[in-house]
């Protein structure tokens, strides 16, 4: 969900063709996209403990993880959260070796 924002931040819902202004506290769903304009930012929080700050002039998409299509994000990624960009896929894991049953 959106946990704070500043400037012009918009959401494109997965079931819509129109961008709408994002509001503080707005929930995020699969297939949603978010864009921030110059000077804008958004702080996002996820139930797994991940939190991301989206910088200005960024475009991100939600679904199967988080895709940064352009711009910058910074923050804490909980283990297992997938992060994608046009040129890479990243995944956080435990920093120690773990054996899974």
């Amino acid at each position: 969900m959106v946990r704070g924002l500043g400037g012009k931040v918009e959401l494109l819902r997965g079931n819509s063709a129109d961008w709408v202004s994002a509001s503080d506290g707005a929930a995020l769903f699969e297939d949603d996209r978010m864009r921030t304009f110059k000077g804008a930012w958004a702080q996002l929080a996820f139930e797994g403990g991940s939190s991301l700050r989206v910088a200005e002039e960024s475009l991100i998409a939600f679904g199967g993880g988080i895709t940064v299509e352009r711009g910058s994000v910074e923050g804490e990624l909980a283990a297992g959260l997938r992060l994608k960009t046009p040129t890479l896929e990243a995944e956080t894991v435990a920093s120690r070796d773990i054996g899974f049953r």
Partner: protein
């Protein structure tokens, strides 16, 4: 960046759930782990995607498994990697540690020498100076060694250094430093001597 072995039986590839359920999936994974002692999960990262899709990822805490163009790498805390379309993943050179002049130093000469520590993998360095802290309209000098020298006007300057690898790829910038050039001669004390 370092190569490490693939974790056995990693369940995370199955995550395809609504955002609200991502946390539950992670909790389930933690619950099925067998590890002695506390396990540090997750990572603190910074991701920047340029207009052409080139991506730079910096890991500040934790480990990140990164895949790009058929290559896979593990990026640990303090490291950065760059992914470009059609190119293998590349480690980003660290930011040089500046040596002299000290931060917030004041010098009385217009010809100023700058030094910094060597960065492994660097073939040259870009020294940047600006009178603006955001480095707008910066002056620059490319040098092969860890020292540069510039003739500057009296002003407050900000300077930083970027290491460049053999392929011309810039690394992370150093932390900037502030430098004041003041060539005003010291004021002489005038007045009548006091005879005792």
């Amino acid at each position: 960046m370092r190569e490490r072995r693939q974790k056995k039986g990693h369940p995370l590839s199955a995550i395809r759930s609504p955002l609200s359920a991502l946390g539950l999936a992670v909790v389930a994974m933690v619950g099925s782990a067998r590890a002695e002692g506390p396990v540090d999960m997750g990572a603190s990262v910074s991701v920047t995607v340029e207009a052409n899709g080139d991506t730079t990822v910096e890991v500040k805490r934790g480990d990140l498994k990164v895949k790009s163009g058929g290559h896979e790498a593990w990026v640990g805390a303090g490291d950065s990697i760059r992914a470009s379309k059609g190119k293998p993943l590349k480690k980003v050179l660290v930011g040089p540690v500046l040596v002299a002049p000290a931060d917030q130093a004041t010098v009385g000469t217009l010809d100023v020498g700058f030094t910094w520590q060597k960065v492994p993998g660097a073939s040259r360095y870009l020294l940047e100076l600006s009178t603006a802290p955001e480095f707008s309209s910066a002056r620059s000098q490319t040098v092969d060694s860890t020292r540069g020298s510039l003739h500057l006007d009296p002003a407050t300057w900000y300077w930083r250094v970027v290491a460049i690898d053999a392929d011309g790829a810039p690394g992370k910038r150093s932390m900037p430093r502030r430098l004041t050039i003041d060539t005003t001669p010291p004021k002489l004390k005038t007045g009548k001597p006091e005879w005792r």
